[in-house]
Each structure stands twice: as C-alpha cells, then as structure tokens.
Point group: C2
Chain length 395, copies 2
C-alpha cells in the first residue's frame, strides 16, 4: 500500500493477535511489513473462522503484509534473519519472554548489526520480574488487571470483555510507541527498545476506577450498563428489545421529562440534581423511565430521543452493524481476495482515516512463504543458495 509510512521496513515475528494487530496498523499506512513465520505457519493460521482450509482470522490481521518462512532453530535461517535486521527499521516480537534472546537475538546484538533499529516486544507481565515468564492469554490479563471485576451486571458474576482487548490494546500501544521512536529517530538518529505489557495496558484504561480506589479508598464494583456518576444513563426496555441512552446534562434530563410527559419529575425533589438522580436511580428512576419506554418500539424511541438531543443507541448485533449504512459510508469493511481461502472475503478496515490517502487494502494476507524468493534475492542470495536454504529446512 502506498501511504504515509512508505519506505519503512518492519519485521513482524509475532503470532496470534497482539503483535499481528500492532504490525497491521503500520502495514495499513504503507509500511513494508514482512511477516516471518515458522515453516508450518504461525498459530493463527489455524484460528476460526476457517473457510476452504484458510483462516479469516489470519487474513484479517495480516492484510497488507509480505510473508516469509524461517525456522529459527536452523542456523542458516538465523543468518537470514540477521541480514534482514540489518535492513530493517523496526522489529516486533511477542514470543514468551526470553525465548527470542535464547535464540541469540538480543537487543545488544541487534544494535551492533543495526544501531538505529527499533525493537518492540509485547508480553503479559513485562520483560522481567517473577511473573515475566508465565504464559499470559487475554483472559488472564483481563482477570489479573481488574478489568473483569468491573465488567458485568450488578449482583452477577464478573465477565470478560467479549473480544480480546488486552491483545488489541497492547498491540496498538506498541504501534504508538514504534511511531514515537521512528519520529524521534528522524531527529536524533537513535533507535529504541520498547516494552509493552498486557497488564499495564489494561490498568491504563480503567478510566475512573483506579483513581476512585487511590483517592477515595473504595473498590469499584460492577454497574452493568449504568454510569457511576450520571443518571439516567443505562440500557432501558422498549416494547421490542433493549436500547441505551444517557442524560449527561440538566438540559437533556429536562428534555427527557418533557418528552415523557412527566414535567413533574423535573421538580420532584428525588430528582432535583444529578446527585439526587444517581441516589434515587435504583429502583425509582429506572422504573419511571422503563415504564414509559416499554410502551414504545425502539424505532419510535430513536426518533423521539434523538430529536430531543439525547445520546441514543440501538444495541446492534454483529450482523446488524456489519451490514449498516454507517460501516459502509466509513469504508470500514474491506474486500480482499484471500489466497489461502481462495475467495473474496470481507474484513474490518482501517479506523485511522487520513484524509487524501487511499483507504483500501493493497494486498491480502500472504500465503505461507509467499515472498521467500523475492526477499532472499533482494538480500543477495542466488537462486542456488535459495534452493539450498529450502533443502536445509531453513525456510
């Protein structure tokens, strides 16, 4: 893809979700991302949904990347990777902590080969300390970080965020760190070592929860869809399902009371201020609102509530949002011919819209080893040397 990162070479040694998502952001804006996998392919090539033996999971996260295989237990393969490191701007890995070093790839040695290299790692718990070498899945990070403890309905068991946000957010943070380091390198000529941990990542997005604990000494719990400090702000019941709305200002609250035909609630001392509304939200105010919304359909409520200037949302399922006019207009579904699936498929597009830049995929995710020959030839390997690498099992 031509784009604003053209000319930047990224070696993506990552697997599964966090690291591939990190490198995807760079590939989407035009960086040359070389995905390096073991000969059998990285694990997400086998993640569902599968079609015709190919993984749409892999296809989504690895679009716009080149593909190369290297068996890093093989010495000749290691030599190839060292040559690639010489030519690269960025290298990213999410191996278990210590594994890449054990293979000989330390930051110190990388800097010798390429003093300007930017080396980024994603781990569960950071690169040292007693927990560093523990394996960490997204659900583990959601549990340990406290994210699960504040997600879920009141008086119900805690629940994880559906998609793996410790992965997607840590990948995005590393991508941000890499861009900061690349920017800085333009000015100073210096590389950097970057280290993003899944626990830190989730701990950094708790909004008010951590400061509520440190400042008030209270431990926030689960509030379902309610806001801790604004009411009414929740999901409510319509005749034909649930929807959400929130009255964040006095004006919105008063508009809502008028709309409900309940101007008496504006002067009701139970609801006089936002603090009063929060204090009397359960069960009184919630039931007052529900008793009105239950008499109307979601369509009817959307029209009324939007017209009143109050934030309103349908609770779409994944089919409804994917088929929506909104996603189409924003070009948030890309269609690519995926070689491992052998068909056109639709994948989520790029959420960072840069006006005037192309907003489409330049290529599908790579077939396994798709660019082996081209990349090796560029590094100076002859045809017979490439053949020898194949026979030795290096690729």
């Amino acid at each position: 893809m031509s784009g604003i990162l053209e000319g930047i070479r990224v070696l993506d040694l990552t697997q599964a979700y966090s690291g591939p998502f990190c490198a995807m952001h760079l590939a989407d804006q035009g960086a040359e991302v070389i995905k390096i996998e073991p000969a059998q392919g990285e694990q997400s090539r086998f993640f569902t949904p599968l079609k015709n033996g190919g993984s749409a999971y892999y296809a989504y996260l690895n679009r716009n990347k080149k593909g190369m295989t290297l068996d890093l237990k093989n010495e000749e393969a290691k030599e190839v990777l060292w040559k690639l490191i010489e030519t690269a701007d960025v290298i990213i890995e999410n191996f278990k902590v210590g594994k890449f070093e054990e293979m000989g790839f330390t930051y110190e040695k990388m800097k010798e080969v390429n003093p300007k290299i930017i080396y980024g790692s994603i781990s569960g718990f950071g690169l040292d300390g007693p927990m560093a070498k523990r394996p960490c899945y997204d659900i583990v990070a959601q549990a340990i970080s406290g994210m699960m403890s504040i997600t879920g309905h009141i008086d119900s068991d805690c629940v994880k965020v559906g998609p793996s946000i410790a992965d997607s957010f840590s990948g995005t943070y590393l991508s941000l760190g890499i861009m900061m380091a690349l920017f800085n390198r333009e000015r100073t000529g210096q590389g950097q070592r970057l280290d993003v941990a899944m626990i830190d990542t989730l701990f950094s997005i708790m909004e008010n929860a951590v400061v509520t604990y440190t400042v008030e000494g209270t431990v926030p719990g689960r509030l379902g869809n309610m806001d801790p400090a604004v009411a009414p702000f929740d999901s409510f019941e319509a005749k034909d399902g649930e929807f959400v709305m929130g009255c964040g200002t006095k004006k919105m609250w008063e508009s809502m009371c008028e709309m409900m035909g309940r101007p008496d609630m504006i002067t009701d001392p139970r609801y006089a201020t936002n603090e009063d509304r929060c204090a009397n939200y359960l069960p009184d105010l919630k039931e007052e609102v529900n008793s009105w919304t239950r008499t109307k359909t979601i369509d009817e409520l959307e029209e009324l509530i939007v017209a009143a200037g109050i934030p309103f949302g349908r609770i779409n399922d994944i089919g409804q949002i994917t088929e929506s006019d909104l996603i189409k207009r924003r070009n948030m579904l890309w269609e690519v011919y995926d070689p491992s699936i052998g068909e056109n498929i639709k994948i989520p597009g790029c959420p960072i819209k840069v006006h005037g830049q192309e907003d489409k995929p330049s290529k599908a995710a790579p077939d396994l080893g798709e660019d082996n020959e081209a990349i090796l030839a560029e590094l100076g390997y002859s045809e017979s040397e490439i053949q020898a690498l194949k026979e030795s099992g290096a690729l």
Copy 2:
C-alpha cells in the same frame, strides 16, 4: 517532561475522556501539550472522584500538560488561538461535529496559517453522513458497534465493557495517527487531516466476530468467559472464589488431566481433540473441571496450574491490582502533587515503556489557566495586553 517528543507542540482543545487521553499519550513522552479550556474549566474537572473540590479524573488524564483558558465565543480569544495554531505542530479536538468549524476554525484556514499543521478530530460516527451530528457517549458506541452484543454471560442480558473503551481506544488511535503524520511530515513537510470515529474504533477490535459473520454468515453471541474456539478456557470455581485458566494446546490439556488425577480424560473420546472438547464443554467438561477445582483454594490452584505451564489468572479487584507488586515493579502508579486537590495523589502511569527514558510525571495536571500569562507572553502579548484580555473575558 523531557522525552522523545520534546519540541512538539500540541494544542489540546478536547474534553472528557477520548481527546484528553489522546493528548496524554503525547504529553507522557515529552510533547508540550497545551490544554485549552473554557473559563469555567472543561466538563471533566467536575467528574468523580472528587477530593477537596478537585477531580482526580481530570488529574489523571491531564498530567504533563500545560493549561490555558480561552473563551472561544470571544473574538480576541479566537485571535489568540490563531496565533497558537501558527506555532503548533498538532491540534486536537472532540467538539460535536461541526462546532469548531462554526467558530471559524476550518482545516483550510488552519493550513493557510500553518501549512504543516496536523489536525485530528475524534467523533462518534465520523465527520459526515446522516449520523455525524448526533451526540455520542461511550455507551452509545458500545451499543451501536455490536460490542455490547458480544459481552456478557450466555443467556444473560448483554452488558457494556465497564470502562469507556470506545473513548480510550479512539483516543489512542488518534494518537497513533498523529505520530504517523508527524513522522511523515519530517520526511515530506506535509501536514494531515485525521479523523477517528468511535464506532469505527470498536468495529476494528471485534477480533474474530466480524469475520465470523462475513465468512460464515452466523451472528456471534455472548459466551461469558469462554473462548469460542478453545476448551477448556474459561473462569472456574475454586473453594474460595473464581479464577481463570485456558488450555490452548494439546500439551496443556494433557498436563491438566494429569494434574487433576484424571488421565482417563486424555483418552476419553468426548475430549479427544480441541473440537471435541469445545463440543462437549457444556455441561460435561466444565463440570469435570469445576468438580476438581472446587476442592482447592485459589492459592493451591495457582501453584499447581502455573507449575503445569498453563495460563492462570486470579480475578483481582481494582484494589488488589492497584496494590500489587506487579504494578509497583512496572511503575504503573505515579504519584503527583495535584494543585486542584492540594494533595499528592496516585494515578495510572504510562504503559509504553521506552527503555532508557524517564518513566515518571514531570508535572501534575494544570490548574485552570495556570499557564495563561506565560503562553501569552511567549506569543508576544505585553502585560497590559494580557490584562486587557482578562478584562474582556477572553481568558
């Protein structure tokens, strides 16, 4: 803060969470972020938790920033902002779509004043289209995007992610877009117009959900803490509470069976492959695991399961993770003296660890208008002119 973005000036005209979080990432790495607020302060100065009249919510999201007040309904204040735009590298806003333009601040005019400016906006639904001007809260984005539909327990109502991740993630995406644009500008001299929407943001982090719909045609639902494609991978019951673990490989599964004293399960045809285990997870396999884990405490289970090489997580509450050795070691709690609270408070630190760089706050969030005089003097305003601005209500 000295750091890798030193010398970059960012005008932060944002409020609440998404925009301030975006600018916070840049401030944490040493950019000079000037937070510009109306005379009464932006809305999050009143967000809980409050102490001594100051907001720890504001303090957390605005550390490392300078503070200035400008009443943008006032013509002289607008003039000050134009002068600031001349000197800035980046300008960020999350007004309701169209509001900043109505005040006269169009991208076209900004480019005339400063051709290299990078202008980033965060909105709910993007900058145009029929929904553009609708107000959007995080809960609205979580509802419309489908995020709520795939978060929650099976057979239970859907629930939003506790903290406002449409805000934090869209802010982080804009921060990433800004760094890409800054990098590109070093090479090309060109500015950019960046546009990040909360709906796009959440749609881009659905992991397998969107491609499951587009490739298989099925609509993913809620799975509680289960993984859609791996079993056992869930929360389980100990004698003294819940915990999570996941067996992502055959080896982990077999280790678990051995650990449970149940080698028979390895050869049980109901559990032969991961597909079989998924198919027979509810109720059979889950109950087999729970019937063993219920006999042990979380401490006992942690020791056994970690030793078996299986990813394990305690479900910490916010107090437990905040007080943990892990957060301390990673320096993920910063202490600052906050001027509006008048005390030292603890706030989450920076999750992007750049080795060799300082990892601490250089200053607390600004008091309202803290840097008015210094910034105006730097722009060339004399003391009497500054006094006149104060008297006219521009500040």
